[in-house]
């Protein structure tokens, strides 16, 4: 992503962020993307590695809706297959971030004392290291496969949700129903899992939705420096990376993948906002 920003937790908004049609459209878009990516082999107009050297750099046309690339491969096909990789990186890394964040945050928030101290110091340490440069070094050094890249992106993004979850847990833990559960002898694990985690679910889901977008952006930034997903595997990030050299002569090669990244991240953010606003209304 970006020279990127990390928001500390903040009080939820008091009013719906976006007009109600936008989040629904965004959600539909996201689901459609996931479905299209999943069935890419069935619907893609060409084979993913069908090289056609006689038909290189063709502009968008009836046969090739999005044009063709340097090797005459159909860009639409590559974008569909690229969606598998980019969405997988976004989704799985976000879930991973959420899981680590929830575990760390819940443990810290419930246990308090020195455990809380240690975990929060660790969180601080991770937050203090510049994220994108760190990820660049890790990827450059270890040259990860796609699954490993997912792990790295996920492991670089858990700190925000850890803080959010910890704060929520702390405020919830003070409530009556938790004291009651404790009083009847529930184990700490049970208290956390049964009583506290459901309470933080909505907050965590906002963070997770936003993290999907961030994961996709991070992948594209890593690819910009040539340390992300490596061709011939297509991802939106590395398609964009390859297209940057021909930006002036074949702009469609850069415009379509860039637009896909932008739209997907935008959809995630809109949906995340809506969940945040909605959950606030009910609580």
């Amino acid at each position: 992503m970006s020279d990127a920003t990390s928001l500390p937790p903040i009080a939820p908004p008091t009013r719906r962020r976006v007009t109600s049609r936008a989040p629904r459209t965004a959600a539909v878009l996201l689901i459609a993307l996931v479905v299209l990516a999943a069935v890419a082999p069935l619907i893609a107009p060409y084979a993913v590695d069908a090289i056609d050297l006689a038909n290189r750099r063709a502009a968008p046309s009836a046969e090739h809706w999005f044009g063709t690339d340097e090797l005459g491969r159909d860009l639409l096909t590559r974008i569909l297959y690229g969606a598998q990789v980019s969405l997988a990186i976004g989704l799985v890394s976000a879930l991973l971030s959420a899981a680590i964040g929830a575990a760390v945050g819940a443990t810290a928030g419930y246990a308090r004392g020195w455990i809380d101290d240690v975990l929060m110091r660790l969180t601080d340490a991770m937050l203090a290291v510049p994220r994108l440069p760190l990820l660049m070094i890790v990827s450059a050094v270890l040259q990860p496969s796609v699954p490993l890249l997912v792990v790295f992106v996920g492991a670089a993004g858990w700190m925000e949700s850890a803080r959010v979850v910890r704060a929520e847990i702390m405020s919830l833990a003070a409530r009556d129903f938790v004291s009651a559960a404790r009083a009847v002898g529930a184990t700490p694990l049970r208290v956390v899992v049964r009583h506290l985690l459901p309470g933080v679910l909505s907050t965590a889901s906002v963070a997770t939705t936003l993290a999907i977008g961030r994961g996709i952006l991070l992948e594209s930034a890593l690819s910009f420096f040539g340390v992300g997903v490596q061709p011939p595997t297509a991802s939106w990030g590395n398609m964009l990376y390859q297209a940057q050299t021909t930006m002036t002569s074949e702009p469609w090669l850069a415009i379509f993948p860039g637009a896909m990244i932008f739209l997907t991240v935008l959809a995630c953010n809109v949906v995340g906002d809506a969940i945040g606003a909605g959950s606030d209304g009910t609580s």
């Binding site: 050297l53 090797l71 040539g226 011939p232 021909t246």
Partner: protein, 535 residues
């Protein structure tokens, strides 16, 4: 609302104002300044210590010789090239050899101190002393001593015959009166702005931005040289940025334009694209140690027949390079054109693989004795053309039943991989010297770490030939041996040669006497003569 708009207008208004004042600098006299967009910042200006091209350095520090645009060795600070026939090279009875360098008289360092044979001796001693880290001590370690009978004569004594002796001092000499007694690694004054004898000196090095060279007064070629007053090397590591600045006129010249960028520049009327045949060749190395199927000659020949080099060159490379069939390139005096070739012929490739016992399985992939003809090709990431060539070869191999995967590896890691032999096949080219030595790449005992035989290829007759050529000081006699060696290499195809890496430089149409250069001497080898035509 209004607040935002105002800010927007402010943000947009500023550039409009500034843009009007931007191009004032364009009106300067033509020979005042040449602005070069350069793809990287040098690590050091010390020619012996740098490990990248010596373009900028060569404007400041001159060699005793250099290579011209046809790769011929031409004298610079030497008054002539020593050879066996002109008596400059004498073979000793003990197997060693003496090379006598006659220096050009009346050459002075930029500080006015005369350039003498003592500087040659100092250079050899400094490198052989071993307490600093020049990039390479190649050849120097075979020098036992240097005699300086007079201030313009240096006699270099070699312990053994060393065929590439002519290029021994292509990187120039070190100024004794400046560097004597210094730790050269830490001599940052010299390493940042070296004292040379060349037409230019370093006026300013602004780290991360540019190096500015300015002409020296009293250059030894005469007061009329160099013509251009100043040369600015702007560091623009991003290729797209570099080409965009060239098109917009922010820089006037770019050395080594990537082939896939040439198309874009053809339309620019202010730019001339100067092309020379290169000194390297793109090829696929086949690691016989890691993937034993490669040690079968029939398999190697089949793979060679399976690649459609014509189509690759015509399409992906836009016809900018020429197909070559061996490691020594056409410009070299030792080049042999009549060697065995392997034209694109998938039917023949399939037949040869069948004959070698690799039969097509159910999935279309060939197998033999239970193992599949399946390997991984590594190549350096970040080069679109190379990635595309790799993927095309992947498809062409697949058509004859060979399953090759492609893995892109970044530039620094890939060195470690080939150095340790941790790869099956690799698509790459070597930075070759101007000398035609290929022993390093093909002699049986020169696998890493002793050399660059990363095919782990062994052929005794070839090895003998190559070592014999290394011990032949006479240029012509050596070339005969190397021609035989090239025929042998082509016959045995230890690697799959693809195409010559031609070098294309973008220069202003008004710049005269620019020739380009295929060697590491770089396109600036004759910068003293460059001249902008008057408008």
């Amino acid at each position: 609302m209004s607040a935002t708009l105002r800010h927007l207008r402010l943000a947009l208004g500023v550039p409009l104002l500034v843009a009007c004042t931007k191009d004032a600098s364009r009106t300067r006299a033509p020979n005042d300044l040449l602005t070069v967009g350069y793809d990287r910042e040098p690590d050091t200006m010390n020619r012996y210590a740098t490990h990248i091209l010596e373009d900028i350095e060569s404007c400041v520090v001159e060699g005793l010789v250099t290579n011209d645009e046809r790769m011929r060795v031409v004298p610079v600070l030497a008054s002539e090239i020593p050879t066996v026939s002109n008596g400059g090279v004498r073979l000793r009875a003990d197997g060693g050899m003496d090379v006598t360098w006659k220096l050009r008289p009346n050459v002075r360092w930029h500080d006015g101190v005369p350039h003498t044979s003592a500087d040659v001796k100092f250079t050899v001693d400094a490198i052989n002393k071993g307490d600093w880290k020049p990039e390479s001590v190649d050849g120097f370690d075979r020098i036992s001593s240097v005699d300086t009978p007079d201030s313009l004569t240096a006699v270099v004594h070699y312990r053994e015959v060393y065929a590439p002796y002519q290029l021994q001092f292509v990187r120039g000499t070190l100024p004794r009166h400046v560097l004597e007694g210094q730790d050269i690694d830490r001599a940052s004054a010299y390493n940042r702005a070296p004292l040379g004898t060349g037409p230019y000196r370093v006026a300013e090095w602004k780290t991360g931005e540019y190096i500015l060279l300015e002409r020296v007064p009293n250059y030894w070629r005469g007061a009329e040289y160099p013509k251009i007053k100043r040369i600015l090397f702007k560091f623009l590591t991003n290729t797209t940025t570099r080409i965009n600045q060239l098109k917009s006129g922010e820089v006037q010249m770019v050395a080594l334009v990537p082939w896939d960028k040439v198309r874009e520049l053809r339309a620019s009327p202010a730019i001339r694209l100067n092309q020379v045949v290169g000194n390297g060749y793109e090829h696929v190395s086949l690691n016989e140690k890691r993937f034993p199927a490669f040690s079968d000659l029939r398999v190697r020949r089949a793979l060679a027949h399976a690649i459609d080099r014509e189509t690759i060159v015509r399409t992906i490379l836009d016809g900018l390079v020429q197909i070559v069939n061996g490691p020594i390139q056409p410009l070299s005096p030792a080049y042999e054109a009549k060697v065995a070739t392997y034209p694109f012929n998938p039917a023949k490739a399939r037949a040869m693989l069948d004959e070698a016992g690799w039969t097509v399985g159910a999935d279309g992939i060939r197998t033999k004795a239970g193992s599949a003809l399946r390997f991984e090709l590594i190549t350096q990431s970040g080069f679109a053309i190379r990635e595309n060539v790799a993927q095309t070869i992947q498809k062409q191999f697949r058509d004859v039943g060979v399953d090759m995967r492609v893995r892109l590896v970044d530039g620094t890691s890939i060195s470690g991989l080939w150095f340790n032999g941790d790869f099956d096949a690799m698509l790459h080219w070597w930075q070759q010297g101007a000398d035609p030595e290929i022993t390093l790449f093909f002699a049986a005992d020169r696998a890493p770490p002793a050399g660059r035989n990363i095919n782990y290829f062994r052929d005794d007759s070839l090895t003998k030939l190559l070592y014999a050529s290394d011990r032949t000081a006479d240029v012509d006699a050596r070339a005969v041996l190397l021609r035989i060696a090239q025929r042998r290499v082509a016959e045995l195809v230890p690697e799959l040669p693809l195409y010559n890496t031609s070098k294309i430089d973008a220069v202003p149409v008004t710049l005269q006497h620019f020739t380009g250069n295929p060697t590491n001497a770089g396109p600036f080898w004759n910068v003293y003569a460059w001249d902008f035509a008057p408008p």
